[in-house]
């Protein structure tokens, strides 16, 4: 049995070989019809897989060609024909696949195949075999009523590609419209339940995909949809390169391009794979844009890399072949040092990573100052190198840097290795640019020295101070030293009027600058030269001058930046010996500001002599203000207008003259003036004063008692001054002066007479009729009124009466009088008052009080009141108190007088003062004349008698010899 099994294949081989040899010999054509074994589908990929065999194949290997046909919907609708050639082995299963553009769920496909021997070892066959039978290819899906199925589902495709969307309608569903995001899309109806929508050149919308939705227009109006996942096109990696720094690792890098990742696990970011063909190594890159490839074989010099990027849809590759020694990216130099040799030289040293003595590097050296490359040089280096920087600036910061590359096979420069350094200071190399300003003050020179700061390249370090040596040329032994600390740019010296030689130097920490020398002569600051006017431009001034001597060392032009200010800010410009003109420009120049330039000639002896003065404006402006005008010699026919001078520094331009405007009604202008008629009969006369030095103007031919208005305004080349309000004047009357001459003396005379008369009357009055003091205005009255200090009231004991007069010559005991006022008789007995006669006839003496008359009232007396002056008695006790001891007087009043008050409530007045000049009774002036009250001796005060107002009339008989007593009855008032 085993033997037979072993023989069977051998037998077959023999038979086959015989058969073949017979065909070869005979050259007969033979046909081999393929047989389809299986037809399967991959719905997701829309792919049809075909599997077949060649059943009658007798050869071990035979090259054959196959033709495959695919039809759609029905077998006659051939949509694809493809020839497929391969070497077929005996009993081999053959595979082929095809991707349909239309989802397989939507339509049925049919497939068949035929074959033809296509082997060179045999006679060429010109005819195909018979077709295999058609095989149906379909994916069965069931669509529910009122449902729409959309294929493909979650389709992944590349941007720019085409896709066919297939719609499968369920029952009752019709009239479906579809949209891609917001754009409507239209398709073709394949049959009653299938329609196709072809989308060309689809665009990337988002990594989340693109929605396609369809809406059925039946009653349900349901929305169905699917998502297309459109990927961006995978890009080829760009700028793929590899290099090494240490011959251990190759660093490969590239630009990856766009990320083609999509969500929903449709597609991850593209992957990158590096394959080296000589070593056969393949590595998946750990980064999107780079990969470190380990050099494992030191002997390998040539590398052939293939970088492949790939996503679900596409694969792209780039290739790179290189020699390792040509891809050396040198490491940055190390151990960089810098050594200052002096202020202008520095030496830099560095080391490089070398691969032997024969390995030469090219190094590039740069010197930077303030980020600007000022020096560049290339040197060849083995292991280490140095480079000398020269021509450096003292006290300056520099940055030196170096980088290297393989000199034999330049690939890339290394990174920079850099070092900063600063050169040391050196002595200032340049003399100071100095100038001076000289003025005399109190018989001595005040010399202000100025100098400009040295440039950094001249100072060679930080200037610490400025040294000034002043040599007296007249007394050579005398010299003074001054030191001005920086950063001062000037100083002031007070010198005697001699000739001086001034040396100025600048010091830094290392040394002294060359000296600057100036010579001051005796007449410095006193030079008088003519001032010339110049016209500036917007940019500045052009100054030119005439040299006076041929051996000038140079010229200096100076000016003040702020000519209007006290702070001058002197500027100067040094010019060469052959210069006779210069342009002075400055951003500080302003229009309307006068600038004064002085041109000095410097002699060989460093002496500066003033050549010229020039003054001008960059731009002249109209005057900003008018002068203050005063009026002189003002008469009825004329007056003179005068005004002060302007300070030239405050003029906004050169004043060329003045305009005088005179305005009035019905005025005649001077022939030299311009006449203009204004509204309301006003006439304006304009006079021009062309001499700017003239500061007065006489206005003549005016009319007396007339109104005039005037305005004086200066004018320059740019215009006249502001139009301010006219000043109004009125000419006086023609006779006013004459009247003044007469009236004034007369008024003075009258005034003198009045004063003399008044003085005389006062004198007469004082002598003859002195003023009677008003008791109410007496200060003592207020003291009495206050009663705060009873003891302040004058005590009668303390008084020294100057008059003592007995009024009532008592002829009987009827009346007793209280006498007061005797200064020399303090012991006058004070008898208690007698009883006063009453209406009921009760007898009683009436008390009479005599006291000094403080309330004499002439008017009351004159009014014919019979000398009776009714008045309030409120102050009576006080008045009494003046002459009577209060306790006694009050006793009297309490007993009698107050009693009478109580009896007569309707009568307020209880005391009546009677002047001793008044008529004693009933207006009988004659009786007064016959019996005038006679004071005891001469006194300035008149005696006055107070009588209780309600006292009943005394029953007086004519026989009674009462001469100066007044009796008052109630009815008589």
């Amino acid at each position: 049995m085993a033997f037979s099994v072993a023989l069977h294949p051998a037998f077959l081989l023999v038979v086959l070989s015989l058969k073949t040899s017979r065909s070869e010999v005979l050259g007969e054509p033979f046909q081999l019809t393929p047989e389809i074994l299986t037809v399967s589908t991959e719905s997701k990929l829309q792919q049809v897989n075909l599997q077949w065999t060649v059943p009658n194949l007798t050869h071990q290997e035979l090259k054959m060609a196959f033709q495959i046909e695919i039809s759609r919907i029905n077998t006659s609708n051939i949509v694809w024909v493809e020839n497929y050639s391969t070497t077929v082995k005996w009993n081999q299963l053959l595979h082929w696949n095809w991707k349909s553009e239309i989802p397989l769920e939507c339509v049925t496909h049919f497939i068949r195949i035929r074959a033809m021997v296509d082997d060179a070892k045999y006679l060429p066959q010109n005819s195909w075999s018979n077709w295999s039978s058609w095989k149906e290819v379909s994916v069965q899906v069931s669509v529910a009523p009122n449902t729409l199925l959309i294929f493909p589902d979650n389709k992944l495709l590349e941007e720019g590609s085409n896709v066919t969307i297939c719609l499968l309608y369920g029952q009752y569903l019709y009239n479906v419209s579809c949209m891609l995001q917001k754009e409507p899309i239209h398709g073709e109806q394949l049959d009653s339940h299938v329609s196709l929508i072809k989308l060309n050149n689809v665009v990337f919308h988002s990594v989340s995909g693109t929605n396609i939705h369809c809406k059925a227009m039946n009653a349900t109006k349901m929305i169905f949809g699917t998502v297309l996942f459109v990927s961006k096109v995978l890009e080829e990696p760009k700028n793929f390169s590899c290099e090494t720094q240490d011959f251990k690792t190759l660093k490969c890098s590239w630009e990856p391009g766009v990320d083609t990742a999509l969500v929903w696990s449709q597609q991850d970011s593209q992957s990158y794979t590096l394959y080296e063909s000589f070593s056969g190594r393949r590595e998946l890159c750990d980064h999107r844009n780079s990969h470190n490839w380990q050099i494992t074989d030191d002997s390998q010099e040539t590398y052939n890399f293939t970088l492949t990027t790939e996503n679900n849809l596409r694969k792209r590759s780039v290739n790179l072949i290189f020699n390792l020694t040509h891809r050396v990216h040198q490491k940055a130099p190390h151990d960089v040092t810098l050594e200052n040799i002096d202020a202008r030289k520095a030496n830099m040293t560095w080391k490089v990573l070398s691969r032997g003595n024969n390995y030469i590097l090219l190094c590039q050296i740069e010197l930077q100052h303030e980020r600007e490359v000022i020096h560049e040089h290339n040197v060849s280096v083995h292991m280490s190198a140095s480079y000398l920087f020269s021509d450096l600036e003292p006290d300056t910061k520099y940055k030196a840097r170096v980088r290297c590359a393989d000199a034999n096979h330049f690939w890339k420069w290394s990174d920079w290795a850099q070092k900063e350094f600063c050169t040391p200071e050196a002595a200032p190399s340049q003399a100071l640019d100095v100038w001076r300003q000289v003025r005399s003050e109190n018989g001595s020179y005040v010399v202000t020295l100025f100098w400009k700061p040295l440039l950094k390249s001249q100072a060679n370090g930080k200037i610490v101070s400025y040294n000034i040596v002043v040599e007296n040329q007249d007394r050579l032994s005398e010299s003074e030293h001054y030191s001005v600390p920086a950063p001062a740019l000037g100083t002031q010296l007070s010198l005697d009027p001699c000739s001086y030689k001034i040396h100025i130097t600048a010091n830094n920490s290392v040394g002294v600058s060359p000296e600057s020398v100036m010579v001051l002569s005796n007449d410095s600051g006193h030079e008088e030269v003519h001032e010339k006017r110049i016209k500036g431009t917007k940019d500045g001034f052009h100054i030119s001058w005439e040299p006076t001597s041929g051996d000038a060392l140079g010229y200096v032009v100076d000016w003040c930046v702020h000519s209007r200010d006290q702070h001058c800010d002197l500027q100067w410009k040094n010019l060469g010996p052959n210069t006779t003109s210069t342009n002075i420009t400055s951003g500080a120049f302003k229009p309307g500001v006068r600038y004064n330039f002085r041109i000095f000639e410097k002699s060989m002896q460093q002496k500066a002599q003033l050549l010229e003065k020039q003054t001008g404006y960059t731009q002249e402006l109209a005057p900003l203000e008018n002068p203050e005008v005063t009026i002189n010699n003002f008469t009825s026919n004329s007056f003179i207008l005068s005004w002060p001078s302007y300070d030239s520094d405050f003029q906004s331009a050169f004043i060329e003259g003045y305009h005088v405007y005179l305005k009035s009604k019905e005025m005649q202008c001077h022939p030299k003036g311009k006449r203009m008629t204004l509204p309301d009969y006003w006439v304006l006369c304009e006079y021009e004063i062309k001499d700017p030095e003239q500061k007065a103007f006489t206005v003549e031919n005016l009319r007396p008692e007339s109104h005039y208005e005037f305005l004086v305004t200066p004018y320059t080349s740019a215009g006249q001054g502001p139009n301010e309000t006219f000043t109004k004047v009125m000419t006086p009357d023609e006779n006013s002066n004459m009247l003044l001459k007469i009236i004034l003396p007369m008024t003075l005379c009258v005034l003198l007479i009045i004063i003399a008369c008044y003085w005389k009357s006062q004198w007469v009055k004082e002598k003859c009729y002195p003023d009677i003091p008003n008791p109410y205005k007496s200060s003592i009255l207020s003291l009495i009124k206050s009663k705060k200090n009873a003891h302040l009231i004058m005590n009668v004991k303390d008084c020294i009466p100057d008059v003592l007069e007995v009024i009532n010559k008592v002829e009987g005991p009827k009346t007793q009088c209280i006498v007061s006022g005797n200064p020399h008789n303090e012991d006058v007995s004070m008898k208690p008052p007698s009883s006063v006669p009453t209406e009921d006839g009760s007898s009683g003496s009436v008390p009479f009080f005599f006291f000094e008359n403080f309330t004499y009232d002439q008017s009351a007396f004159d009014s014919g009141s019979h000398g009776l002056i009714p008045g309030p008695l409120k102050d009576t006790p006080c008045q009494l108190g003046l002459l009577t001891p209060p306790e006694k007087l009050l006793n009297v009043l309490e007993k009698d007088y107050m009693k009478s008050l109580a009896e007569s409530p309707t009568e307020e007045t209880s005391l009546i003062y009677v002047s001793q000049l008044a008529s004693p009774m009933g207006g009988d002036k004659d009786s007064l004349a016959t019996n005038p009250p006679m004071p005891g001796h001469c006194s300035e005060y008149k005696m006055q008698m107070a009588v209780p107002g309600r006292l009943p009339s005394l029953a007086l008989s004519e026989n009674n010899s009462l001469t100066s007593e007044i009796l008052l009855g109630q009815g008589e008032q």
Binding site: D153, N154, M179, Q181, K182, H205, S206, V207, S208, G209, N211, H213, K215, K221, M222, I223, F224, G225, T226, V227, V263, W264, S265
Partner: protein
């Protein structure tokens, strides 16, 4: 009970914003076809009767929130994959699920303490893992549309 009411009010207050955030993140046609794509026409959504007793309402609320919580978990998972950049939507979904978990705990506590109900049978939504992307979007939108509508009724019922 007040905590339950507060949590319901909180869910009711945030439901509309979550709904809008969701359909906006899905892109067209969702924002312009909210009624058709996101209409509350879920058949298996647990019922809720606002006029029932408190016990009944609490039991129905428990079922509903359990259903919603599970379904929103699936939606959140899908959206993390489908819209990885929609951070705002993810935050809202997570916050809603967190609140629902707290609400479930409180409702169960209330049922247990007051009504001695220790267990409630719950139902969950259908498995959507096999659905295509558009269907997942649509189902999520329908869920949130239903949730927005129901939660307002529930919040008023308590």
């Amino acid at each position: 009970m007040s905590q339950i009411k507060n949590q319901l009010a909180q869910l009711n207050g945030s439901a509309n914003a979550l709904f809008i955030s969701y359909y906006t993140a899905q892109g067209e046609p969702f924002p312009n076809n909210v009624d058709k794509l996101c209409g509350p026409n879920m058949t298996d959504f647990p019922p809720f009767h606002a006029n029932g007793t408190e016990k009944t309402k609490l039991v129905e609320l428990y079922r509903m929130v359990a259903y919603l919580s599970a379904s929103l978990g699936n939606v959140t998972r899908d959206q993390r994959t489908l819209n990885p950049d929609a951070v705002s939507l993810h935050g809202k979904l997570n916050a809603t699920i967190d609140t629902m978990r707290g609400l479930l705990s409180n409702v169960l506590c209330r049922l247990c303490n007051k009504y001695h109900v220790g267990h409630v049978d719950v139902t969950y939504g259908p498995d959507t893992s096999s659905k295509d992307v558009f269907q997942k979007k649509k189902l999520g939108c329908q869920l949130l549309g239903t949730y927005k509508q129901v939660i307002s009724v529930v919040a008023q019922a308590f």
